[in-house]
Amino acid sequence: MSDITPGLWELLIKGLWVTVQLTVYSAALGGVVALVIGLARTHRLWIVRFLSGAYFEIFRGTSALVFMFLVFFALPIGFGWQLVPMWAAVLAMGLTYGAYGSEIVRGAVAAVSPAQREAGIALSFTPAQSLRKIILPQAWPEMIPPLNNLLIELLKGTALVSILGVGDISFGAQLVRNATGQSAPVYTVVLVMYFVLAFVLTRGMRVLERQAKAGIGQAPPKRRKFSLRQTNDVAASGASAGSGGA
């Protein structure tokens, strides 16, 4: 531990900041993708459902790392688009994790009771109105716990970008390892940093969940001690799993 000089610590802290940025930007892009694709998968036109379903299956089937390599190497050669590494990473992560998120959005929207939709029709709401005022407010609290899990997967996924030369924590760890010639201290520090980030994210999402549940008049859920994740029951893990990619 003592071998990591202040300069090297600075490197790790800079990496931490890059990881936070990557997580926030990819989560923002992923959130938009998840909402659009998730809603498109419940659309009444079959062609919209088919296209969004194909998007989901392709991104769910392929490996995040392979896709990232494609964005980094194939886009510049294939189309002459040379993205800044940071944004290429955000694009790759946002599209991949957005696909996983679309399944969460779809499931939560489908779980809203049909009587609520019918109420919207009875009040002659437009589809957009009933989505905004009836469906989404009720689906949102259901989405938060699985989205929290996905967000942690996304955070873990950001480590992949270090392979492609983006200077995140994992990249900083490599540099520090080369400088000090020791692996155990720096990798322990970095793992703890990721864990703390995941912990902070979870706390934030719990607050969101409590507010969202209170907003529709539900009590906050009970949880196991220690656990950062939503405890999946069998049915939930059946639906949400297959979404590794970290």
């Binding site: 299956e57 392709i58 769910r60 089937g61 392929t62 490996s63 995040a64 790392l65 392979v66 896709f67 390599f69 494609l70 190497f73 194939a74 050669i77 294939g78 942690i152 955070l155 873990k156 996924g157 950001t158 480590a159 992949l160 270090s162 392979i163 994992s170 760890a173 490599q174 390892r177 020791q182 692996s183 155990a184 990798y187 322990t188 970095v190 793992l191 990721y194 864990f195 995941a198 912990f199 220690f226 656990s227 950062l228 994740r229 405890t231 999946n232 029951d233 069998v234 049915a235 893990s237 059946g238 799993a241 297959g242 979404s243 590794g244 990619g245 970290a246």
Partner: protein, 216 residues
């Protein structure tokens, strides 16, 4: 740019080598993940706090930190402690250990799903603890979590290219190597990308069918 089919055909022999290594690594790490996960799940239920508490803490830590960093940790730190494995073995241990913390949650859910009456029946028959687990609880618990476990096999398949970063020549590793020698990166990457979909999509269809049959 020009799509170069000759690059594809030149890459194919390396690709098949990579497929074999990927499937090998996958099979071995699945065994590690399934076995270790069961151990974690049972240890977490232990009445002894000194067993259940550290196991819970360790699995939470492993599950919430990146597999990539864990692989580097194993690959660089274990030799410093005098333990040396081949890259493939390190990769299998890393991947298996990481996903064992996920399968532990799946097993846990399955075990929790076994009705309390089953435990009580075992007690009433004064079965020893080991037989209660092996003959009564686990057969019922595992049956209902098979589809969820299968999902993690697909997830592990998609995370298997990570072991290319510690020098295992699986599919992505072969593609990178081919690309760095011939400067044709796009064709091998696209081949590998398609290969993942070709393997993962039928697998997930199979799992959905299995889920319909087993979980009622």
């Amino acid at each position: 740019m020009q799509w170069d089919w000759s690059a594809v055909s030149e890459f194919m022999p390396f690709f098949w080598d990579g497929v074999i290594v990927t499937l090998q690594a996958l099979a071995l790490s699945v065994i590690v993940a399934f076995a270790l996960g069961l151990v974690w799940a049972m240890a977490q239920r232990s009445p002894l706090k000194v067993v259940s508490w550290p196991v819970t803490a360790i699995t939470e830590f492993i599950r919430n930190t990146p597999l990539l960093v864990q692989l580097f940790f194993l690959y660089y730190v274990l030799p410093e402690w005098g333990i040396t494995f081949s890259a493939l073995t390190t990769g299998v241990i890393g991947l298996g250990l990481h996903y064992s913390t996920y399968t532990a949650e799946v097993y846990r859910a399955g075990i929790d799903g076994v009705p309390v009456g089953q435990w009580e029946a075992a007690t009433a028959l004064s079965l020893p603890r080991s037989r209660t687990w092996i003959a009564v609880i686990l057969p019922q618990a595992i049956r209902r979590v098979v589809p969820a476990l299968g999902n993690y096999v697909v997830a592990m398949l998609k995370d298997s290219p990570l072991i290319a970063t510690i020098g295992v020549l699986e599919m992505l590793g072969e593609a990178r190597q081919f690309g760095s020698i011939t400067f044709q990166m796009v064709e091998p990457l696209v081949v590998v990308g398609i290969a993942f979909i070709v393997i993962a999509y039928p697998a997930s269809l199979l799992l959905r069918a299995l889920e319909r049959r087993l979980v009622r």
